[in-house]
C-alpha cells in the first residue's frame, strides 16, 4: 500500500521529466573541471553524510543498497557507475542546478555543504581511499571520573577485540556534553592517547543549577557501542542565580516570606480570642465551685 502511494506521488512529480528522458546531462567543461575546495577528510565526509541523509536519501536511497525512489529516470545509487563516472565538478554542478525531477540545491544548501556532499559521494569512488566505512559498531567500554578541584574529567576507553578481550582504545574522539532538561548540550571532545586515556577540562564559565551542580555525559562516537558515562551532580561550575519569584512583603507570599506583622496579628488575635474563651471556661469552673458553698 505504502509503496503504491509512493509510486503515485513519484509519477505525479516525474511527469514533466519525460521530456528529458534519453537526453544526456552535459555539464559545461569549465564547471566540470572545478576541483573540490573542501578537503577530503573523514570529518567532511561525515558532515556530507549527514547532509545527504537529510536532502538526498529520500530519492537516491542508501548508498550501495540500490533502493532509490522508482522515478523516471531512476535516481542513481551513490555507489553506481552512473554516479561515480561524474567528476567532482560534474556532481557539484548537477546538484546545484538540477534538472527535471532532480531539484536544484543552489538556494537551499550552502556552497561548502554542497562540496561536502560531493566528498561523501567520493567516499565510494574506487579511486579514493574509503574514509567512512559502514561497519557494525564495536563494543566498547568507557570509564570516566571527575576531579572537582581542577574541573577535569579523566576518561579511559577500551574496546572488545575479536578475541573477546578488552584492550585500550587509542586515538578515538570522546564526546563530553552537559545534560540539560531537553537533550544534551555538547561541550567538546578530546582524543584518547596511546594509553586509551584522555583528560577534558570543563570550562570554568559553565553555569550549573541553583546549587552549582551539573550532570556531565561522556560518550563515544557512533562507531562504538558503549554505555554513556553520566557523572551526576558534579560541583565544578558557578551556580545559577535564580531571581525570587515572590518579592518580600507580599501578603500572599510563602511561609518563608510571611510578613512579621501578619504573623503577629494572626497569633495575637487568635491567641486573644482563645485566652478569652479560656477565661470563660474558668468562669464555668467557678460556677461549679460556688455550688458547693
Amino acid at each position: 500500500m505504502y509503496k503504491r502511494i509512493n509510486l503515485f506521488i513519484a509519477v505525479l512529480f516525474v511527469l514533466p521529466a519525460f521530456q528529458v528522458i534519453g537526453q544526456d546531462w552535459v555539464v559545461p567543461a569549465e564547471n566540470s573541471a572545478i576541483e573540490n575546495p573542501q578537503e577530503y577528510t573523514l570529518k567532511n565526509v561525515k558532515l556530507g553524510k549527514d547532509l545527504y541523509m537529510v536532502n538526498c536519501k529520500s530519492c537516491h536511497g542508501d548508498p550501495g543498497k540500490n533502493n532509490p525512489l522508482p522515478l523516471v529516470p531512476v535516481p542513481p545509487d551513490v555507489v553506481s557507475d552512473q554516479m561515480q563516472s561524474n567528476s567532482v565538478g560534474d556532481l557539484y554542478y548537477k546538484m546545484s542546478i538540477g534538472k527535471g525531477a532532480m531539484p536544484q540545491f543552489e538556494t537551499t544548501i550552502s556552497e561548502d555543504n554542497r562540496w561536502r556532499i560531493v566528498n561523501f559521494i567520493m567516499n565510494y569512488n574506487s579511486n579514493r581511499k574509503q574514509l567512512l566505512e559502514d561497519k557494525p559498531p564495536v563494543k566498547a567500554q568507557l570509564l570516566a571520573s571527575i576531579n572537582e578541584d581542577d574541573g577535569t574529567v579523566n576518561v579511559f576507553a577500551e574496546y572488545e577485540d575479536k578475541g573477546g578481550d578488552y584492550s585500550k582504545l587509542v586515538d578515538v574522539p570522546v564526546i563530553f556534553s552537559l545534560k540539560k532538561t531537553f537533550g544534551n548540550l555538547e561541550l567538546g571532545e578530546c582524543i584518547t592517547n596511546e594509553n586509551g586515556r584522555s583528560d577534558f577540562i570543563i570550562p570554568g564559565s559553565l553555569i550549573g543549577n541553583e546549587e552549582g551542580f551539573v550532570t556531565i555525559v561522556v560518550s563515544l562516537g557512533e562507531d562504538y557501542e558503549a554505555k554513556d558515562v553520566i557523572l551526576e551532580n558534579a560541583k565544578i561550575c558557578m551556580s545559577k542565580e535564580v531571581p525570587k519569584l515572590i518579592r518580600q512583603g507580599v501578603i500572599w507570599s510563602t511561609n518563608d516570606n510571611l510578613p512579621m506583622w501578619l504573623l503577629l496579628s494572626y497569633i495575637g488575635m487568635v491567641g486573644g480570642a482563645w485566652l478569652a474563651i479560656g477565661y470563660v471556661v474558668f468562669q464555668i469552673i467557678k460556677i461549679r465551685k460556688y455550688s458547693k458553698e
Partner: protein, 453 residues
C-alpha cells in the same frame, strides 16, 4: 419590669412558664418520632452519597478543572452566613439593651451552632482526601485566608456553644429539679451533669452574667471576622466578580438577611408546634420584620455598590461576568434572588400586615431560598470565566452543574442542620426560662425552690 410581690402568684406564674417552655421536651408523640425519622433518613442518604464520593473521588461531582468550587462551597458560604445571626441577635442587640430580643436569642444561638457546625463539616466533604485534613493544621500557611477561615470558624463554633451553654446552666438546674419522671433517667443525668450542681446563689448568677458579657463582647470581633474572612477567600483573588473591596461588609450584610429569615422561620415553627403563642408573640415577629427590612436595605445598598459600579464601567472580564448574570445563563437565578430575596420582601415588610407571623414566615422562606441562590451566584459563575481562554478541554469542563451525589450531600447538610436544631430544642428549652421569668417580675429565689407537686 413590674415586680410581683406575692409568692403564690410568683410560683404559679413560674410553674406556667416552665410548663409551657418544657412542653417540647416532655412531649412524646408520633409526629416528633416521624420528624426525627425523616431527618435521619435524609442524613443517611446524604452520608451514603458522601461514602460514594470518598470511594470514587471527586470525579463523581460536577466539579472540573475550571469550576473547582461547586455547591459545596456555595453551601459553606450560606451556612456561615446563616450562623452570623447568633452574633447579631444574642450579642450585639443584647449589649444594646434591646429587650424584645431576649426570647429570640436562644433560637438564634441554636441556628448559629447548627449552621457553623455544618459549615465546618461541608468543607471536609468538599475535600477529595478528607483524611488529609490534619495537613491544613500541620502545614497551613499563615498568609492564607483558608487558614484564617479555619481558625475563625473553629473559634466561632466554640464561642457559640459557650454562649448557648452558659445562659442554659440555671435552666438546666430547673429541668433537673422539676422534670422528675417526665423524661428518661439518662436525660435527667445529662441535665444534672451539665447544670454543674447549680444552687442559684447570687455569686453564681453574678458569674453567669459576667461570663455572658465576656462572650457577648468577644463574639462581636469573631463574628464579624468569620464572614469577612469567608468573603476574603474570594476577594483576595483577581477573578472577575470576586475582586471587590466591599466583599467583607457585603457578605456580613447578606448574612444578617439570611440569618434573620432563618430565625423567623424557626420561631414560627416553635410557636405553632409547641404552642408558644404567648412567648413568640406577634410583637416579636413584628420587630423581627422591622429588623429584616433594616438588614435587607443595608444589603440592598451593598448590592447596588457591588453591581452598579462595575456594571457602569463594564471592564472586559468584569463585563463578561456581569452580562452573564444580568442577561445570560444565570439571569433567572440572579433576578430571582434579587427580586424575591430583596425587593419584594423590603416592600412587603413595610406594611404591618406582612409582619404578622404567617406572612412574614412565608416571606422569610423566600428570602432564605434566595440567599442560597445568591451564594451559588457568587461562587460559580466567576469560575466559568477564567482570564485565560478555555481551550482543548472536554465539553463538561465548560459549564458546571451539580450531580446527584452533590445534591445528596447538600441535602445531608440541610437536614443535619435541622437535625441539630431539632435535637437542641428537644433537649433544652427554646427560650431562657430564668431570664424570661425575671422579665415577668419573678424573683430569683423562687427559681431554686423545688415545687411540691
Amino acid at each position: 419590669m413590674n415586680k410581683i410581690e406575692s409568692p403564690e402568684e410568683s410560683r404559679k406564674l413560674l410553674d406556667k412558664i416552665f410548663k409551657d417552655l418544657t412542653r417540647s421536651i416532655v412531649k412524646k408523640d408520633e409526629l416528633t418520632r416521624f420528624w426525627f425519622f425523616i431527618l435521619l433518613m435524609f442524613i443517611g442518604v446524604g452520608l451514603w452519597g458522601w461514602i460514594i464520593q470518598v470511594d470514587r473521588g471527586l470525579g463523581v461531582t460536577g466539579m472540573r478543572d475550571y469550576v473547582s468550587w461547586g455547591i459545596y462551597i456555595a453551601n459553606f458560604v450560606f451556612f456561615v452566613a446563616v450562623s452570623l445571626i447568633g452574633f447579631l441577635l444574642s450579642s450585639a442587640m443584647h449589649l444594646l439593651k434591646i429587650d424584645w430580643v431576649k426570647p429570640v436569642s436562644r433560637v438564634a444561638e441554636q441556628i448559629a451552632i447548627a449552621a457553623v457546625g455544618l459549615a465546618g463539616i461541608i468543607i471536609v466533604m468538599d475535600m477529595g482526601r478528607p483524611d488529609r485534613l490534619l495537613n491544613v493544621f500541620l502545614h497551613g500557611r499563615f498568609a492564607s485566608p483558608i487558614v484564617w477561615d479555619l481558625t475563625v470558624v473553629t473559634t466561632y463554633l466554640t464561642i457559640s456553644v459557650l454562649l448557648f451553654y452558659i445562659p442554659l446552666i440555671p435552666d438546666l438546674a430547673l429541668l433537673r429539679d422539676r422534670l422528675g419522671s417526665q423524661v428518661p433517667k439518662w436525660q435527667l443525668k445529662v441535665y444534672s451533669i451539665l447544670s454543674l450542681g447549680w444552687k442559684g446563689n447570687p455569686k453564681q448568677f453574678k458569674t453567669v452574667y459576667h461570663a455572658m458579657r465576656v462572650l457577648m463582647i468577644l463574639i462581636i470581633p469573631v463574628g464579624l471576622s468569620i464572614h469577612t474572612v469567608t468573603s476574603w477567600l474570594f476577594a483576595s483573588t483577581l477573578r472577575a466578580g470576586w475582586d471587590s473591596t466591599i466583599f467583607g461588609p457585603y457578605f456580613v450584610a447578606g448574612a444578617f438577611v439570611a440569618g434573620t429569615a432563618a430565625v423567623i422561620i424557626v420561631m414560627y415553627v416553635y410557636r405553632v408546634r409547641h404552642g408558644l403563642k404567648d412567648y413568640f408573640e406577634d410583637k416579636h415577629f413584628n420587630q423581627m420584620g422591622k429588623l429584616l427590612v433594616f438588614v435587607s436595605l443595608l444589603y440592598l445598598y451593598f448590592n447596588v455598590n457591588e453591581f452598579l459600579v462595575p456594571g457602569y464601567k463594564m471592564k472586559l472580564a468584569e463585563g463578561i461576568h456581569l452580562s452573564n448574570l444580568f442577561a445570560g445563563d444565570y439571569a433567572p437565578m440572579f433576578w430571582f434572588a434579587q427580586i424575591f430575596g430583596l425587593f419584594i420582601p423590603i416592600i412587603l415588610l413595610l406594611f404591618k400586615f406582612f409582619r404578622k407571623p404567617l406572612p412574614i414566615t412565608i416571606i422569610s422562606a423566600f428570602v432564605l431560598v434566595s440567599a442560597w441562590f445568591k451564594r451559588y451566584i457568587i461562587v460559580i459563575p466567576t469560575e466559568e470565566h477564567p482570564f485565560l481562554p478555555i481551550q482543548n478541554v472536554p465539553e463538561n469542563f465548560h459549564h458546571y452543574a451539580p450531580t446527584s451525589i452533590e445534591i445528596m450531600i447538600m441535602l445531608f447538610s440541610f437536614f443535619a442542620a435541622i437535625f441539630i436544631i431539632s435535637v437542641l430544642s428537644k433537649l433544652f428549652p427554646v427560650i431562657t426560662i430564668w431570664e424570661y421569668a425575671e422579665e415577668k417580675g419573678i424573683d430569683k429565689k423562687y427559681l431554686s425552690e423545688t415545687p411540691k407537686n
